[in-house]
Symmetry: C2
Subunit: 249 residues, 2 copies
């Protein structure tokens, strides 16, 4: 039952029936849908004070290229424009006090839930990445260093590990740029393999927001832009997160 | 240098220059390219006797749906047709004695290399999956149960975790069905979220092999086929693995 609801939402949007059938979507406030400012989304998503561990910080495994480019972007955050996104263990930590719409409610048990791209916690072995977001230009940069646990062809990152990180960077960008919540499609063309331990830079741009969908593009390449690893496009569905009722908090 | 070679290969294939420029591809035996039978590929890929741990075996975390369908397919392997693929920790284990063409040689250090989709080794927490392959019909079935380390939206598998497993299942199918080695493209349409801990069944079919490329399709759905999770297509480049020289073995 639960799993049919996203399908229902997607179908409704596709058939433009969303606005005609409010009875099917009882909790959505259509009048204010997608009215949250990027600033308020960022403020909630990137709390200034938190006890949560931020996994998007340098560690001893980062290669010099990754560390240097991280410092460059960190400088850019001081003069405004760019924001460094924190990266917590689970999306649950990012959206505290909010819940998914349409009854996509989740078990509240004590399982060790982990965001897929933060599931390997040994420094340097799995995903090392950090995302910088530019609110006014609706674009992101993700610095990515794959570790040996992300192997596909011997010595190189698995294509699926890059696909997953593209999806993840799209998802954070889509949420902050326009309350994009669910991936509708992901199309990737692979050009070159990424050697394990080296840096790949993902440049993501929101191309347009139309019919409750965010259309984005991404190019993943070496720092010097001489080697393109992959190009992709992604489409996300806009859905507004809801405030939790006080008794649920 | 290393990373430009795959690009070179892809470009060569695209421009049909592969056969005109043997000097660029010194180690490829064009006369026998893609001449390996599926039987010989399977025999090498699925050794009858090995000390390597097979991660595609049932464990206590498997849900009843996953276990039942696994048993059904295991029965089908006895009457011929289907083959259960073993799943080792690294692709290095599958291709022992072989190496990648075009100088895509890899570090031989003692790092703990892990295939991305086998990197989380705690039972039930990450990927649980098993692939069955049907050589004569060039199709595969992958039984997939995502654990809580594969989370995206709270309580559901990350879209990227499904994308990565599609790529992985495509890659094993492409290799055994026709020496497909590298993902050229991956296009996914997501329809529904997969609840963590439940079973998704991926049906993969080789649609055609043309111009050194394998074209494949996949549908991921619930066991009863009432819920489609995603549909995708994938294109892989054919490249022949080379025998290692004896001094390299």
């Amino acid at each position: 039952m639960m799993r049919t609801r996203f399908q229902g939402v997607a179908r409704l949007v596709r058939h433009k029936a969303l606005y005609r059938s409010p009875c099917l979507l009882p909790r959505v406030q259509l009048a204010s849908a997608f009215g949250s400012s990027t600033e308020s989304l960022v403020a909630r998503f990137c709390p200034e004070k938190t006890d949560l561990k931020d996994y998007a910080l340098p560690n001893a495994s980062w290669c010099p290229d990754m560390l240097n480019l991280y410092q460059e972007f960190l400088e850019k955050t001081k003069s405004g424009g760019w924001i460094k996104l924190p990266s917590f263990k689970s999306n649950r930590d990012h959206i505290q006090g909010l819940k998914l719409p349409f009854g996509l409610e989740t078990a509240s048990d004590k399982q060790d839930w982990r965001l897929f791209t933060r599931s390997i916690q040994l420094e340097g072995q799995g995903y090392e990445y950090v995302i910088f977001f530019h609110p006014s230009e609706k674009k992101s940069v993700c610095l990515f260093q794959p570790g040996p646990y992300l192997e596909g062809a011997p010595g190189f990152a698995h294509g699926g590990s890059l696909a997953a990180l593209m999806d993840e960077t799209y998802s954070k960008t889509a949420y902050l740029a326009g309350e994009g919540l669910f991936t509708l499609s992901l199309n990737i063309k692979f050009k070159n393999l990424i050697p394990v331990g080296s840096l790949a830079v993902l440049d993501i741009q929101v191309e347009k927001i139309e019919d409750q969908k965010l259309y984005m593009s991404c190019i993943a390449q070496s720092r010097d832009k001489q080697t393109v690893y992959a190009k992709s496009s992604g489409v996300f569905l806009q859905l507004q997160l809801e405030e939790k009722q006080s008794q649920e908090q």
